[in-house]
Structure formats: structure tokens, C-alpha cells
């Protein structure tokens, strides 16, 4: 970059940042379930994107930033899994996040989904992406997206059918 980014590029980047920054934090939050982690993750992606802004078209920047957030969330979740595996006796830090709403139980169910299914659900029902776009973001086939979405919805539907939703919640507690 060499400090040589044009003023016009700075303007377009700032426009992207102001419009897309909060979207990326929220996407990261839905994927990792912690506001602080989500904010750090989005900040890293935004900085990285700024470093490559001259190569990115503004129209497609969000798609790339979204992919980067998903990829980085994998790293974070892997780290958490390792931490849980090697320090089971240590108290896990309490997740810092917004207070649960009335729909918290359904959100709990989404959080309890396997990583891939959760990503598909978030990208499909929050980002409103098509199956093809989700496949592109996750670097998997459309068939994988379809089957992941199907399994996730089946699991959620079963829990919703159960009035208390206790089956999946108890599964999460066991984990």
C-alpha cells in the first residue's frame, strides 16, 4: 500500500466501513457468540481489507469481507475447542454478550448446532444469501449447503415441536 492509496479509494473504503462495519460485527457475533471476539474479528478483517482495497471492487467487497469473517471465526472456534479440551478444569470465562431476549431459547438452539449448520443458518436466514452464495462463502458445494440447512432445520423443528425445547438444551448442557 505504501501510503499510496488514493483519496477516492479512502472515501470508498470509508463508505464501506461505515455501512458494512456493524454488519460484519453482527455476522461475527452470530457465528462466535461473543461481542468482544466478534468486534476484534471484524476489526482484523476490516484492516486486512483496507490493505487490499485497491484490488477489491466496492460492489463485491462485502462478499469477500463476509468470507474472511467466516474463515477467521473457524480459527477462533478451533482455539476455543482446544482450550476446552486442555483446560477442562479451569472455569471458562463467561461469554460477554447481549442479554437474552424472549427468543433466547431458539438462539440457544442455533448456538448448539454444529459449526457448519450454524454458519449455513446464519448466512441463509440472517444474511439472506442464496445457496450458491453460501457455497461460495464456505467453499463447499451447493449440495453440502442444502444438506446442512436441511439437517439444521430438522433439528430446530424437532426442538420447536417439543414445547419445552428441552431435548437439545439438555444435549448442550452435556457438551
Amino acid at each position: 500500500l505504501d501510503g499510496g492509496i488514493s483519496e477516492e479509494a479512502e472515501v470508498t473504503y470509508t463508505r464501506f466501513f461505515e455501512k458494512g462495519g456493524i454488519h460484519l460485527v453482527r455476522l461475527a457475533y452470530l457465528l462466535v457468540g461473543d461481542v468482544s471476539d466478534a468486534e476484534d474479528l471484524a476489526q482484523e478483517v476490516l484492516e486486512e481489507l483496507y490493505g487490499r482495497w485497491t484490488d477489491v471492487r466496492e460492489e463485491t467487497a462485502m462478499a469477500y469481507a463476509r468470507t474472511a469473517v467466516v474463515n477467521r471465526s473457524h480459527s477462533l472456534l478451533r482455539r476455543r475447542a482446544v482450550a476446552r479440551r486442555f483446560a477442562p478444569r479451569l472455569a471458562q470465562p463467561e461469554q460477554v454478550g447481549p442479554a437474552r431476549s424472549e427468543d433466547g431459547w431458539l438462539w440457544d438452539l442455533v448456538e448448539a448446532l454444529p459449526r457448519r449448520q450454524r454458519e449455513v443458518v446464519v448466512l441463509r436466514y440472517w444474511c439472506d444469501l442464496s445457496e450458491a452464495d453460501i457455497a461460495r462463502v464456505l467453499a463447499v458445494s451447493s449440495g453440502t449447503v442444502k444438506s446442512s440447512a436441511h439437517r439444521a432445520l430438522a433439528q430446530l423443528a424437532a426442538a420447536v415441536a417439543d414445547e419445552t425445547g428441552g431435548i437439545l438444551r439438555s444435549q448442550k448442557d452435556v457438551q
Binding site: 500500500l1 505504501d2 501510503g3 492509496i5 479512502e10 473504503y13 470509508t14 466501513f17 461505515e18 462495519g21 456493524i22 460485527v25 453482527r26 455476522l27 457475533y29 452470530l30 461481542v35 466478534a38 468486534e39 476484534d40 476489526q43 482484523e44 478483517v45 476490516l46 484492516e47 486486512e48 483496507y50 490493505g51 487490499r52 484490488d55 477489491v56 471492487r57 460492489e59 463485491t60 469477500y64 468470507t67 474472511a68 474463515n71 477467521r72 480459527s75 477462533l76 478451533r78 482455539r79 454478550g97 447481549p98 442479554a99 431476549s101 427468543d103 431458539l106 438462539w107 442455533v110 443458518v121 446464519v122 436466514y125 440472517w126 461460495r136 467453499a139 432445520l153 430446530l156 420447536v160
Partner: protein, 208 residues
Amino acid sequence: MNDLEQHLSNVLARVSEQVDPAILRLRNPAQFPRQKHPRLGTAAAAAIGIAVAAAVAIAFAAPRLNERQHAASAPTSAPGPAPTADPVSAFASANTSSLVAAAPPSSASLSASTTMSTSASLSAAGPSSRGRASAAPEVEAALRTYVACMRSHGFPGETHPNYPPRAVMAAEDGSVPSPGLADRWRSASQTCAQPYWKAVDENLYSSQ
């Protein structure tokens, strides 16, 4: 969209809106000061590093200074700095080069270690990398491996696992039709990026 999907969509929207923009501390990289480190916190870390290095240098120098003072006040003292009762002025008049030499392991390395990995990675990145996220040497090396691997798959030039080269982007957004190019890049990138993501796992989050 059936009822469950609609409900799910609403819940996700409500949950995401609980992330309040007012409490976020997102910083626009385009507004970082020029020729400064990309993260504001790094400047503070560098200042702390310098202060700690100076404090350690003084701490190591003090005993030597006392020895000199003691020797100077002895009746059979050898030629040396003039004895003085005031330790501050004594310190000021002491041989600066010996103080620097007497500051083990070295103020520079101490500074580097106390300012954490951010300053080291930033100095590696250099001042010209304004706006780029700092990266550990292992991550930089893994990125070079990725670039070499992608070259062997027929994608030369600078590239990154998160950001395809311009031609691939053009193929993806349809501005330049290149059938299969984006898929080939994605496939190659997925293969080549494994060491990079491993390095990111091992370095990036461990430094936070």
C-alpha cells in the same frame, strides 16, 4: 419460507440487533495516522516498552555506580569520575556507554519483548504497511508458502486466502467471463491455505 424459517430469520435479526453500534470500538483503518502503527494501542505499548527498558537500564546501572562511588571515596582510589554525594548528578556524570553496556540482556531486546508481539510484527511489516493487520513472522512465512503453492497451481502474483486475485474477482462478479476460473482458484486456495490457517491459529489469537 415456512413459519419456522420466518421465525428463525426474525430471531436472528433481533439477536444481531442487540449488538449495539454505540458500544462498539471499531476503528476505521483509513483514519489511522499516516506513518503510524495501524493499531493505536501499539503506540502506547511501544512507549511502555521504552519506559521499562530505561528503568531496567537504570536498575542495572545503579550497583555499578555505587561501586564507582565507593571506589572513588576510598583513600587509595584509582583515577575515575569525581565523587559526588548526589546520586542523581553522579548518575548524570557517569560514563553513558558503560551504562548502556551494563544493561543486560539489552535494552533493545528487552523493549522488543515487553512490547509484545505487536511491535515485533509491525517492525517486520515496516512503516509502509499502513492499514495492514499485523502478522507474526510465522504467519508471514505461511503466507509466502501459500503464494508459492498458488503459483504452482497456476495462480502467480500476490494473492491471499481471503482475497482472490483481480482476474478471479472479475470472473466471480461476471465482469470478465472466465468459466471455471473461480472454481479452480477456490479449489487450489483451499488446498494451499491449510498451513496459513494453521499458522494463524497458532500465532494470531495466542498473541491477544
